[in-house]
Symmetry: C2
Subunit: 414 residues, 2 copies
Amino acid sequence: MKAEIITVGDEILIGQIVDTNAAYIARRLNETGIVVNERTSVGDDAGQITECIGRAFGSSDIVIMTGGLGPTKDDITKKTLAEMFGSRLVNDARVEEHVRNMLALRGIPFNELNRGQSLVPECCTVLFNVHGTAPGMWFERDGRVLVSLPGVPFEMKHLMDDEVLPRLKKRFELRSVVHRTMITEGIAESMLAECIAAWESALPPYLKLAYLPAPNIVRLRLSAYEVEGDAVRGEIEMRFRELYDIIPDNIIGYETATLQETVHRLLTDRGLTLAVAESCTGGSIASKFTAMAGASAYFKLGAVTYSNEAKISVLGVSPDTLAHYGAVSEQTAREMAEGARRIAGTDYAVATTGIAGPSGGTAEKPVGTVWFAVASEEGTVAVMRNSGTDRGQIIERATAYAIELLRDRITGRR
Amino acid sequence: MKAEIITVGDEILIGQIVDTNAAYIARRLNETGIVVNERTSVGDDAGQITECIGRAFGSSDIVIMTGGLGPTKDDITKKTLAEMFGSRLVNDARVEEHVRNMLALRGIPFNELNRGQSLVPECCTVLFNVHGTAPGMWFERDGRVLVSLPGVPFEMKHLMDDEVLPRLKKRFELRSVVHRTMITEGIAESMLAECIAAWESALPPYLKLAYLPAPNIVRLRLSAYEVEGDAVRGEIEMRFRELYDIIPDNIIGYETATLQETVHRLLTDRGLTLAVAESCTGGSIASKFTAMAGASAYFKLGAVTYSNEAKISVLGVSPDTLAHYGAVSEQTAREMAEGARRIAGTDYAVATTGIAGPSGGTAEKPVGTVWFAVASEEGTVAVMRNSGTDRGQIIERATAYAIELLRDRITGRR
């Protein structure tokens, strides 16, 4: 079963927003056994919308659209669909009541624009939007299905999961689409491809391999379309297990696995605790760990000590060290890590101190200079790394490297 | 001048990645005076790629593609383009030398796959990729231009800015595309539309108004396509200035303005300092401020005190308070903010303590319960807000609300 995704809105064509809706819908359709054939974005223009739907119906059984359902004049999707399906707009009493209630809760008066939101094309099935004021709509023509959803991500996701997918499963006979991704690190794409060439050649023809490189990691994805799910999932597991013999040191996990998850598991499984002392990374390391459920079991303290005073008063860094070596130095990084570990009473502490820029760099310590330290029972290690030239990039890379260094210390790699 | 953007890769169609490249290219084309007509994503499939390009050439003068240029078997864009343009692949000596140098720097051997990267269709102009191993390619046919760029965002951006845009400006006679966005907060979309209806009706016909709602904010965008830039920019400024008389309390700024930028400016302009004490937000507030250049002037301390011990030892929260009221309580929030302000010696301190879940909730204090406090010379205020049900959402909303409360205290709104 093939589908096409159409996202509507000038904000997409001018690059004002990143189209995350299309990615969500694509993922959910794949999980449901529906192959996405093409994704298109068009502006708030009746002619373009109509032409694009016509084209999509030529090659796909299912079309999922988002956007253009708001109450203001620039939103024209509903009117365009009504015209396309030759159906007049009628008031839906249940939608109107819901819109009135939602607005009343927020203390907003119901006006003419809101009244427009309860109008729907007579020929469609209304997909009730519990979380918003714009209803979803389900149309059928010549055995094909077109669904129009609001563009607000939260509302779209809810309608997709609760209304669209269950209805598609009932409406069509679906097979399985299977994707499984293994994450490797520390090996370049071309070397990896060479290392696993024999393994790749031996894959059965229905398994499609993709390489997805990103800084420091390469993701390997195996995909199979419209197959018997359970058998293929088993086959993929077996194929990936073979890689543990070929590149044992380069695998960090599956799907969206990250190094902070590896550290999270290591700390949790071993009953170890962590403190973080950050200068240039500014809370980014702490927020990576605390974003994971269960972090409170090991995460005891994060200290964002931007000022020298805070480094002294909170972490106990020596004023002499700061005066003599400067805030961005091996000695300061060491004292920050050791201070955080001592104050929080943790097994491990990681510290960063560097120059995130754009100002503050010198010839000796240019923007991007970052010192890292990890303190533990085995002692303290400190490393310097130049982490880039752009503030955001420096913070991101330094955060990633601090977590890598921590992993290496916990596992004894370093 | 009209353009179409085509992004190639199965990872986009299965929703494994969010297509940020298309948004970047769209934004840069608009800034250069080129109207983006449509955006399409197709899989790594020669037939689909060829068909999509043919269609794009039917309605646009310029086609910008990304993806499918890597060294591995799943990357087929280059071969497909060579066939489409009837051109054989030839070795480019400069590209080969560059690939060899790049790999040598990283200690990676040059292999057969890398050799393939220095092959280019004979008919194209090579766009030299300083930052990566896959060159960009510029094709011309019947007065139309097709550009193929690598999918790695960093490399694509560099080629877009340094090679593609300068060449497009030289190749075509371009007019201006102007977009300007005003950010409003605290007023619902339908009410806003009603408030500014007269203003909207009076807009000249070449200015297109769009409403972009998001949680708590509505963005208003005025757009004009293929116009005289300077005159239109002046007209838009004048129109937006009129809104300051209609909705003076609801405007927070232009373009991507955020509330943390407002607070950043307030603190910087007034020479005030800030400390942050976070429990459930886990460093997220600190990282929002420290992500902004110049934050070190006012940001003195961030403390992520997840454990009770850290709340006591670092912030001086009283053990009795924790025992009697619990970590998630008005009293603890107040003592965290006051402790952070005292220890860091700052003008303001903001604190959060709550239950981010998924576990840890009780009937009395369910997941999502968050206490906020801001301490300053004027005293301490504390507020409770239920911030949602999902861990990520709770952290995000609580972070936003803490910054709002801080803004309100600094400006005297609360």
